[in-house]
Symmetry: C2
Subunit: 341 residues, 2 copies
């Protein structure tokens, strides 16, 4: 069946197209009787107004574009859940693209979103993104942009992030107050802002409690193979320092921490008696691993909601030609203390 | 900065709008020299063609609408990853909506997608969906529709599913061949097609190997609290039958299986010596739980790719006014045998 148009309705009711259009929009200058007739027929024929045509007139698409590095990730899927739910509550729908941590794809996808005339963009950067011309271009076009989680200081826009540094500071402070002195840091790429901040939080906690920093206690795990790298770095940790040379490990992600737990379990190293472990993320697996992992709770769903709320505010300010004041939201985290510490 | 239009380019180059448009589309009746001039200026001014306007003319949006019950789910996030990547490779982008297992929301979202004039729809049903008028409406409007994972026999359309019954049959057959006779089934709602099929696969394997079926070995776990229910159902299993009254458990999801493992570990029931456990899903946690869980590998990413490929074929057949032949794809699964069996 072909799509029903305003013209079809008008013809069948023997009234003008503009009367049909006004009736559907509940304009006061159309009689109630006519409105009822139009609505009844529209309902009967399953008429859907052509939003694309109507958007072209109003210049709004009611679409938000979202680019994330990878959706198969417990934290990002929660963020996306929050974004989609909050957008929908406000009458917006979401185009979702994943850059697969590929800078060229990210550039291409931003262009796609511009071409689709999205009303605003939510962006989380790839690990590869070191140049930002493609992002500045969005801003030059006047498209509201909010960055979340993987952000950069090189772009002036509203940002929503987890308080990585403070969360790491809190976690490591907790470990120190429990009597641990020799605390290893297991991190990812220091170029990535999140890991960098988590490392800084670790350093600050050591400083605060006057625990000497030992760079031989810092181990790196590759993105995309964090579990395997957590396992093998734990092996190196024990080779390098022995079980007695380490009191605790602060892992920058839960996946790394779970890799460490696996190595310790396999090698009869008691957690937390021999070595305590603290993770980051409060993913589902952190609660089911044995022993259950103490970790930093990152409220991903709330991050998604916040990002959408800020973006919609900016879109509405833009539409009213009001000034936009940029916002930097740091989503508060909390410590989940379980059996691994 | 305001959006650059074809008119702006034409004015600056002192040529007609239609020449600019043809040059950008590489039409043969525009000279190479003019094309170069137009492209250079378009590039300099960051010109993006207005896709919305151009779609209105061609009647294609190059957008696929996708509705899933819930994105925060290891399997669905993989499916979505496959959908987005495959759509993009073919020049389509994806509007993603999540119904949160809510029938009313699913209805509303299908209307939203119709209004957005998407070229086609991929749909995975909520557990609540028992009426299908809203879905038939899509088909009446001639919008290509492919259902995936959570499907129904009540709608004639192409479908992509995991071979739930055969996978369950294979898993339970494996357990029986290993010498297990008293095999419990831990499932979810039998109304949901997937669980129903997994239960049927379990029954068929028992029949095939002439193992008597005992309905006291069937336990139900609620969706959304599968982990907790897996744990408490395991407790009831042991109360009802004792450790010696059960040889193995086939759990209809990995999360249920992990709940069982937790209860057995907490109560010093040896896996697999006392009781073996088989899961379903091959989620990340199944590989890291201790003991590592034998499970059915569901290739979610491949499901996403297949669903998009079928949908794009139907869209192109529709555009060419060719007949569409419906397809039923069953994505093959495999058994991952680990330490829990």
């Amino acid at each position: 069946m072909a799509q029903i148009t305003l013209h079809d309705l008008a013809k069948k009711l023997n009234i003008s197209v503009s009367t049909v259009s006004k009736a559907l929009k509940d304009y006061p200058d159309v009689s109630e009787k006519t409105k009822k007739k139009v609505l009844a027929l529209a309902d009967k024929l399953n008429f859907s107004p052509n939003i694309v045509a109507s958007n072209l007139r109003t210049q709004h698409t009611k679409i938000i574009g979202v680019i994330i590095p990878n959706i198969v990730h417990d934290f990002f899927s929660k963020v996306i859940g929050g974004i989609i739910d909050e957008a929908e509550k406000n009458g917006y729908i979401v185009i979702l693209l994943q850059s697969n941590e590929n800078y060229e794809l990210e550039k291409k996808q931003l262009n796609l979103l511009i071409q689709q005339q999205v009303d605003g963009i939510l962006l989380s950067l790839t690990v590869e993104t070191k140049k930002f011309k493609h992002i500045k271009r969005i801003q030059q076009q006047g498209i509201p942009l909010v960055m979340f989680d993987k952000v950069t200081d090189s772009i002036d826009c509203s940002k929503v992030v987890i308080g990585d540094k403070k969360s790491a500071f809190d976690a490591v402070s907790f470990l120190i107050r429990k009597g641990n002195k020799r605390i290893a840091f297991f991190g990812g790429s220091m170029v990535a802002l999140n890991f960098n901040q988590r490392f800084n939080g670790y350093l600050e906690a050591l400083k605060e409690y006057r625990v000497p920093f030992d760079d031989r206690l810092v181990y790196m795990c590759n993105k995309n193979k964090e579990y395997a790298d957590g396992y093998s770095a734990a092996e190196r940790l024990i080779e390098d320092h022995g079980v007695n040379g380490v009191d605790a490990v602060f892992a920058a992600t839960d996946v790394i921490a779970v890799g460490i737990i696996k190595y310790f379990n396999d090698n009869k190293i008691n957690i937390p008696k021999d070595i305590a472990i603290f993770g980051f993320g409060n993913s589902f697996m952190s609660s089911i691993v044995s022993p259950a992992l103490s970790t930093v709770d990152q409220p991903g769903y709330e991050m998604g909601i916040n990002a959408v709320d800020i973006l919609l505010t900016e879109i509405s300010h833009k539409n009213e030609n009001e000034n936009i004041s940029l916002r930097n939201i740091i989503i508060p985290t909390s410590l989940k203390i379980r059996h691994s510490t």
